[in-house]
Symmetry: C2
Amino acid sequence: MAEILVVGSMGYDTITTPHGKKEDILGGSANYFSLAASKYAKVNVVGVVGEDYKDEDYHLLKSRDVCVDGLQRVPGKTFKWEGKYEDDMNEAITLHTALNVFEKFDPVIPDKYKNAEYVFLANIDPPLQMKVLEQVNKPKFVALDTMNLWIDIKLDELKEAIGKVDCLLINEGEARALSGEFNGIAAAKKLAALGPRAVVIKRGEYGFILYCEDQFFIMPAFPVEHVMDPTGAGDTFAGGFFGYLAKTDQELSLSHMKQACVQGCLMASFTVQDFGVNSLVNLSWEDIEKRQNDYSRVTSLD
Amino acid sequence: MAEILVVGSMGYDTITTPHGKKEDILGGSANYFSLAASKYAKVNVVGVVGEDYKDEDYHLLKSRDVCVDGLQRVPGKTFKWEGKYEDDMNEAITLHTALNVFEKFDPVIPDKYKNAEYVFLANIDPPLQMKVLEQVNKPKFVALDTMNLWIDIKLDELKEAIGKVDCLLINEGEARALSGEFNGIAAAKKLAALGPRAVVIKRGEYGFILYCEDQFFIMPAFPVEHVMDPTGAGDTFAGGFFGYLAKTDQELSLSHMKQACVQGCLMASFTVQDFGVNSLVNLSWEDIEKRQNDYSRVTSLD
């Protein structure tokens, strides 16, 4: 089984949805990603936290055999995000961001992580994403996510970073902003022209688009009637996607990428059913297998 | 092969999209529906037009073997709608509606239509939809569409009409307005509780939800990169859906309804590729078969 390296944010979120408000709960792209991907394969995390980061939150990852030796603990406070969702649970409204220790984050990849075959660059500053790439030894597969902030203020660096990876994993709003195309099909084609072999657009409750080798694979989301909190769904998608690729570690064919997208889609469907990482923490393999069967039925003509 | 009866609007539309503006082009739910459904089965239309309705527009339907004997031609002007689409091609913005002769429309079903097995009540006034139902002889399958106007001003009558049909075919915005639920899954369940055995929610570029016998079938739209004009996509969906049901005329099983939805989805994908009914007019069976194969590939894990 191959190993995964993820570089992303670790933090505490305060989230308001139509179903309630939770303060300072565990969040950050690297946490969501790692909890999902570690269901499938060995995950190594690089990130930064402050002095207030709780021991129990380290232990949560360690209990999943996620290696946290690459986490930097530095003086200051951990990254915090506050956001809310109104009726449209597909779109977060940011109320407040405190970068804190994340502001001076300088990712250093421990030697023992440098041979990881699968590398996920979560939504950090594009120059830092490139800095990670310079430190690793020819991974088999690298994907990158981003966020509107970097599209707004670091567009050139972001496009350069996208040109260096195998896959762009991005949500629909970001895909529109980055491509200038509202239509998902047109957006996927334009983003692929930046260089990556594959583009995955995550569409929230509408599922995803995979565009790879001039072929589209488009599927709906797993039907979730009560979406409690969509935070982290995209990072969880990436976690299931990478977890599947690393676990199976086969040639990266189109068919294999399709399967990986479906795993991402299923994992994301769990995340949105509860606040924060709660669903992921309690998830069993039986839950995943059952959902896979249910998803097949929901999308089958038979 | 069974026959279809459709009761709906016939009119002229003025449409502005990011790709241009067309004035007074053929439109109306009954036209879109009939041009799509007549690819599969015999269609009979009931509607009303004014003195300005063009002969060539009658002949277009007649050339598809659509029976237009149920069309009333009365003094006055034909129904007109003017609308525009901005970046989000999933949502029409109505600029102007002139009901004209449609305002006093009183649907009279000719005797020879009364035994039609498949009845589609397009988005006309709910009391008129019920009036149609009173005139027909035990059809096998009746479906109803509606529009925001009736949700706003005739909610009770609309709910009563929905309770009398087998299937509700509705777009996502209307489903939200009618159910009070933003989430498509929750909306479908609430709408089914009004009585129909099946609920189909049309989601524009995101595809559709079928909810029937406590089961969901959810699929994406066929990928169309350049959406020229989405007007009539929903009525065309209904046309493909009904056409398939009438052509095959089998027991209305869940599996059969799924196939009908896919046909609706494919037909809608043609409509949006050109202004008005242009794509439907020029459509061949080879086009439809090719698209069906392409759709299978786009939604297949293999």
